[in-house]
């Protein structure tokens, strides 16, 4: 014998390999490939048969492999009686159905390779499921079977029904599986292991364990199609019939029952368990049977019958006593055989006649006599006629339920009632099935004989084998008893039961006969039953609930999408801001108190400035013109500068004012190409919401500002700075010393970034070469010089003296003025510019050199120079800019960076550190004492970089945009009509 431990793994791998190779095999052999593939599940069944002796003696093979040690999950397999039975069913029925497949599909049908792959893959997953001894591993195989079943149900992919059915099946069973996963994690957490053997041996108790068990049962119910989670099974009948026979009769739907049987020895004593089993099983048993009576589609009839039988199995295997468990195991085997056989027979009838609607079938038994006999055998087993397996199982079940014993009395009675009712219904729909498929019906015309195709042997043999098998097994009830009772006896309570073919005249037999008679009676009055059913619809259909849930979820999602995903930037930002208010703001509100004393050190002036800023802010928000908004924002900035000043930081104030001004200028340059007004204002309600969010954010941030200083533990570093600035930096302007000395490395980095930014702006704006258009007026041939704005309306025209628009050089205040149409020029502006320009430059130089000790410095000086250039540009147009600074900005940027770097490196030559400040006191003839500090050169570098940046900004955002405007005929000085705002990308619904 093979080493039994690894054989199982080999079998699983064989399934995987066969699944992978199936498409190729099918492409070689056509549908005959199914015969080859049948060997794979067949060998699993054969292996199980070979292990029978070992299993019966309780020494079935086990195997453990390390899988995900990090999560404490092993691969554990074992073959005990229950697994043995399941492997036999899964492998045996699987092999037979594959044989059936080889004749069922027409050789021309497409996608057979894929179908074969999924089918064998499913068989492998099922084999893994029933041999798993680890709950997580079991879950993995469980979901694998779901996926394969999804793919198999969806085989006829173009039919809408099969698409819906497949989706329904996978959603319900996966959802159930995930519920089960929670149960698994719960129970694994409680018992510290996922090993099923260990958990059942020492089941954890307590409310959590009860919850876990309930969740596990919900998972089982979803898989085994127990009411109310049964509705996917009838829908799944859209699958090809072999799939129905295998998945929905023998294998997959048994997985839930298997889980019940697995856990029952540990948990059958729980009240919650008993209640769940009774409700799930009992309702399935009765409702499934009832529904089966009204079906006209033979497959649907079988499907509801399966729901009913699965309920019965759940009851028997979950009730908890040994005798019922034994009966349940027997029925498990019997059901797999007769139900699969019946499905195959229905498939045969379908294939032979082209219909499976019993209203169209009549006298088929004459055309398909052998098939009819097979169906009769299987049906006899189903309704429990002796001497079939079904009879043996049901007698044992009835006997054990009558004896009761372990479980509480009410449960016994309730189960018995359900059992009796269900069995009567089973007899009735069983007869209806055979009658519907084969009997001669007076009211229905026979199908013409020529159109009935005789089934080939390969199609008939599997069904026959399964049907006759039900007979054969029953003849040896002692053997079944011997093989199955080891597992039944692991149940905690009750006397061991027995399987017998002829029990003698017991009460059970009498009841059985009664049930048979009642069932036959019910079948006899089938017309009346059908009419009654037609008028009495069930009140609540689980399928409807499912559909409504999905629809509701869809609508809900659509509503949410249109609510939240508007494509509106302000809305998105509003949400983020709101969260800032809620989360950190909440932390502040809960965790701190405001400081005891809030002093307004600035006194009245501070209040005034504050009021100014507030007013400017309100006006900004209310303004509809872009330019107005920008200017008002500028006022808030100037207000901030005044606050700096009031707090004794003139240098900061100076920088702030300059930056604010420059920003304003840049804004204006950019705004020329934007619509004058903001796009339409939002609705009033929206505005209030925005206002609310804005105020909330403001309050929160203001709160932060008040709360944060309380966290201070150490004295601020700024305390010692004034002395150290003089001592080490040689300057009394602390800000400047910080910039050029203390944190000179940072400044270094910043000016590099400035250079990069300037280059970036320029390269984004200049579509062509950067150097081309810095031409000055004098570079142009006279007469060719373009004049901007000549076509503008000119209300002053009658007043102008002709011929003065371009006077001689000596009359000009600004040389670039020539390039502007008269109506664009302003004498006052030009004169003022002429006066101010050089003054500003001198002032800038003064700031640059005095910056080390007084407010100023390279940055401020650079900004003032930039402003001076901006004034020239605004007054005289782009040619004036070229006139004012006939330099390439790159030159300024580069030399600035060079100077800064160089002056940083010089101290190394003097034996110091990089960027260390060296102070020289020299006496220069004529000038006198010069106090030379190396960091001044660094500052000059900063100055040049800032000027370069400003020039670049003016040239790109100013002059170049002018030029592009001229080139495209789009007058850049005129504000264009408001553009239509781009429609937001909205969700497609």
């Amino acid at each position: 014998m093979l080493c039994s431990k690894s054989t199982l793994l080999v079998l699983l791998l064989a399934h995987a390999a066969a699944a992978l190779g199936a498409p190729t095999l099918v492409s070689w052999l056509g549908r005959r490939a199914f015969l080859v593939l049948a060997l794979v599940p067949g060998s699993a069944a054969a292996w199980a048969l070979g292990q029978t002796a070992a299993v019966t003696s309780g020494e079935g093979p086990t195997m453990t492999l390390s899988w995900i040690p990090a999560l404490g999950i092993d691969l554990a397999f074992r073959l005990d009686t229950l697994s043995w039975l399941m492997v036999l069913l899964v492998g045996g029925v699987g092999a037979l159905v594959l044989v059936y497949c080889s004749a069922y599909f027409s050789p021309a049908s497409g996608n057979l390779g894929r179908f074969a792959a999924f089918f064998v893959g499913f068989a492998g997953a099922m084999l893994g499921l029933v041999t798993s001894d680890n709950l997580v591993q079991l879950y993995v195989f469980w979901e694998l079977t779901t996926v394969f079943s999804y793919l198999l149900i969806g085989h006829y992919t173009t039919r809408k029904s099969s698409r819906r059915a497949a989706t329904k099946a996978i959603l319900v069973t996966t959802a159930g599986g995930l519920v089960m996963l929670i149960g698994i994690v719960l129970i694994g957490d409680l018992s510290g292991t996922y090993s099923i053997t260990d958990i059942v041996a020492a089941p954890p108790t307590g409310p959590v364990a009860v919850t876990a068990v309930v969740l596990l049962l919900v998972g089982a119910a979803s898989k085994s199609a127990l009411v109310p989670l049964h509705f996917w099974l009838p829908a799944a009948m859209a699958a090809p019939t072999p799939v129905s026979a295998y998945l929905h009769a023998a294998a997959m739907v048994k997985a839930g029952i298997y889980l019940v049987a697995r856990l029952a020895p540990g948990y059958a004593g729980l009240e919650a368990w008993q209640l769940m089993i009774l409700v799930l099983g009992g309702f399935s048993l009765v409702m499934g049977g009832y529904q089966a009576l009204r079906q006209h589609d033979l497959k649907l009839l079988l499907a509801y019958g399966t729901v009913s039988q699965l309920g019965l199995l759940a009851i028997l295997l979950g009730a908890g006593s040994r005798a019922t468990a034994l009966a349940g195991l027997a029925l498990l085997g019997a059901h797999a055989m007769f139900k699969a056989s019946l499905f195959l027979v229905v498939g045969l009838v379908d294939a032979a006649t082209g219909t499976r609607d019993l209203r169209n079938l009549s006298a088929i038994w004459r055309r398909l006599p052998v098939t009819a006999v097979m169906a009769a055998l299987a049906m006899a087993s189903m309704i429990g006629l002796p001497p079939f397996a079904g009879f043996v199982a049901k007698e044992a079940a009835l006997e054990s339920l009558l004896h009761g014993g372990a479980s509480p009395a009410w449960l016994d009675i309730a189960l018995l009632v359900a059992f009796v009712a269900g069995s009567v219904l089973t007899v009735a729909y069983g007869l209806r099935l055979w009658w519907g498929a084969f009997a001669t019906k007076a009211t229905i015309p026979e199908i013409e004989p020529v159109r009935v195709i005789r089934p080939p042997l390969l199609l008939l043999a599997p069904a026959a084998l399964l049907a006759v098998g039900g007979l054969a097994v029953a003849v040896l009830p002692g053997l079944g008893d011997q093989v199955l009772s080891p597992y039944a006896n692991t149940y905690p309570a009750g006397e061991p039961g027995h399987l017998t073919l002829w029990p003698g005249l017991t009460p059970a037999l009498v009841i059985s006969l009664g049930m048979l008679a009642a069932g036959v009676g019910l079948f006899a009055i089938r017309d009346r039953v059908e009419r009654w059913q037609a008028t009495h619809q069930g009140p609540l259909d689980a399928d409807n609930v499912y559909r409504r849930t999905l629809r509701g979820l869809d609508l809900f999602a659509a509503d949410l999408t249109s609510l939240f995903q508007r494509g509106s930037l302000p809305f998105y930002l509003g949400i983020v801001l709101l969260m800032v208010v809620i989360l950190p703001g909440g932390a502040m509100a809960l965790g701190t108190s405001l400081p005891d004393r809030i002093s307004l050190r600035g006194g009245v002036p501070q209040l005034l400035v504050g009021a100014l800023v507030v007013v400017a802010t309100i006006l900004t928000v209310r303004s509809r013109r872009r330019l107005k908004a920008v200017i008002l924002t500028g006022i808030t900035g100037y207000g901030t500068a005044m606050l700096f000043f009031l707090y004794g930081a003139p240098d900061l104030a100076l920088d702030q004012v300059l930056v604010e001004t420059i920003t304003l200028v840049v804004f204006v340059l950019v705004l020329r190409r934007l619509p004058a007004y903001f796009s339409n204002r939002p609705l009033a309600a929206d505005r209030w919401v925005r206002l609310g969010i804005g105020i909330a954010v403001a309050v929160t941030v203001a709160g932060f500002a008040m709360v944060v200083p309380q966290a201070r533990l150490e004295p601020p570093v700024s305390a010692a700075l004034p002395q150290e600035a003089v001592a080490f930096g040689g300057g009394s302007n602390v800000v400047n010393v910080i910039l050029v000395d203390v944190r000179a490395w940072d400044t270094m980095g910043e000016i590099s970034v400035l250079v990069a930014a300037a280059t970036g702006i320029a390269s984004l704006t200049f579509l062509r070469s950067r150097t081309r258009d810095s031409r000055r007026p004098r570079d142009h041939v006279p007469g060719e010089l373009p004049v901007l704005g000549l076509g503008d309306p000119d209300p002053m025209a009658p007043l102008r003296r002709p011929g003065t628009s371009s006077g001689s050089r000596s009359q000009e205040w600004l040389r670039g003025g020539r390039t502007l149409a008269p109506q664009r020029r302003s004498v006052v502006f030009e004169v003022t510019t002429r006066m101010l320009y050089h003054t500003m430059l001198v002032f800038a130089i003064w700031l640059l050199f005095s910056g080390h000790n007084a407010p100023g410095g390279g940055f401020a000086a650079g900004l003032i120079t930039g402003l001076a250039l901006a004034v020239r540009y605004l007054a005289g147009g782009r040619y004036e800019l070229a006139e004012a600074a006939p330099l390439h900005p790159g030159l300024l940027l580069g030399s600035g960076l060079f100077l800064a770097t160089g002056s940083g490196l010089i101290p190394i030559l003097l034996g110091g550190e990089v960027l260390q400040t060296a102070i020289f006191d020299l006496t220069v003839p004529l000038i006198g004492e010069v106090h030379l500090i190396t960091s001044t050169f660094f500052d000059i570098g900063v100055y040049l970089v800032v000027v370069g940046l400003m020039l670049d900004v003016l040239r790109s955002l100013g002059a170049e945009i002018d030029r592009q405007g001229e080139a495209t005929g789009h007058d850049s000085d005129l504000v264009g009509p408001a553009l239509e705002p781009a429609p937001p990308l909205r969700d497609r619904l």
Binding site: V140, T157, R163, T174, I182, Y572, P584, R988
Partner: protein, 479 residues
Amino acid sequence: MITPPEISWLAIAPDLALTLGAALVLLVDVQWKPVARVHAWVSGVTVAVAAGLTVAQWIQAAPADALAFSGLITMDGFAIFTRLVLIAATALGLAAGWRFVAGLGRRGAEAIALVLLATSGFSLMVASNNLVMMFMGLEVGSIALYVVAGLARERRESEEAAIKYFLLGSFASAIFIYGVALIYAGTGQFEIVGIRDLLAGFVVSSPAVIYIGVGLVVVGLAFKVSAAPFHAWAPDVYQGAPAGLVGYMATVAKVAGFAAIARILLTGVLDLSGSWLPVVAGISVVSMLLGSVLALVQGDVRRLLAYSGVSHAGFIMTGVVGGATDAVLFYLAIYAIQLIGAFAVVAVVAGPDAAGSSIDQYRGLGRRSPLLAGAFTVILLGMGGLPVTSGFVAKFGVFTGAWAEGYEWLVIVAVVATVVALAFYIRVIVVMYMDEAQEEGTLRIGPERWVLVLAVAATILWGIFPASLLDLAADALPI
């Protein structure tokens, strides 16, 4: 006199390699104007060198050298693992987006350089032990990504995506750095390890400032990882940005963002977990539910992936709640590969530079291109977390982590969200296999092929044999 700090070049070697590679791409482009193949070689070698250097870090790494550059940078397993994920994402992302990059012509070099720079930024971010350093990395990475989003200049959607991403993203960065400042105000520390030691050793008198700071930092980073309710940008950006590179963009931002979240919360302020755990759990719940539900009705696969990304952010957050660094890392690695794979499919179906990708384009994909549809199916099932895919192991890991920390309710919500999420993944699969194709013609697959092969292999192989990657993640501990 300041003594210059000890410089451990190895600690930043991968980032240096990436930056130099980016510069090299640009230089080569300016100098020789070569064909795209040359750029492929340069960028490929760059990524390979960076990966090699990262592996060298892993081999070299000893607790003693964990901190470099005066505590700015760490070389702990956490950083190395995340960096490897980022570099892998870069390689895959460039492969998936290669047809787009090559189609850009002269601007292709810019795209490559931006991608490499973004990776180097995020790589610095995940390795930084200093909050300001982290911000630097975040900005280098983010700014490069803003530009990448707008690379398809001809299309308005791309511009819209870029500007939205830029404006909202800069705002989030500002919130982040505000938080950093407040954390500094509360602790006097920028170093994450220093903050941890401080909180472990002292009772902080006014922790509220730290709470506020942590809150702001969490808001800023939650934006970057597109967790709800900070996710609003994601669908618009995922839809508008060039199809080829969206996967990369989404992935690296998410990986780096979560690495930062994990490092700050689980290393830095773990002692204050009582204050932030409920917040993170709340964000997690909102993300999982909102993301899963909203994805149900998306008619555009890219928006669907964006919302699924929101729900994944929620799932990963459950791992953060559980304090399971290894589970978070495993999840990130798996999700990174799957996300890039999914967008590679989008790039093939919709075209490498397209905006949007209506679900109609996927109808009948199973027949038009069985292998592509098969790969997408595997990836989607992996994202859905079905067993035997690595997605299951990833989800299981973070869920058990949260469970062990007593957040059972969170796990239950997560499972509910998983079920809902499964519905929309399956919906796409159904459309691919069970609908008639609306478009005809064969699909051109370029280098995306390799991305798909790897994504499918990673999804299945690490689903069946997850131990190798899990062990690696378990070794990748933060300092």
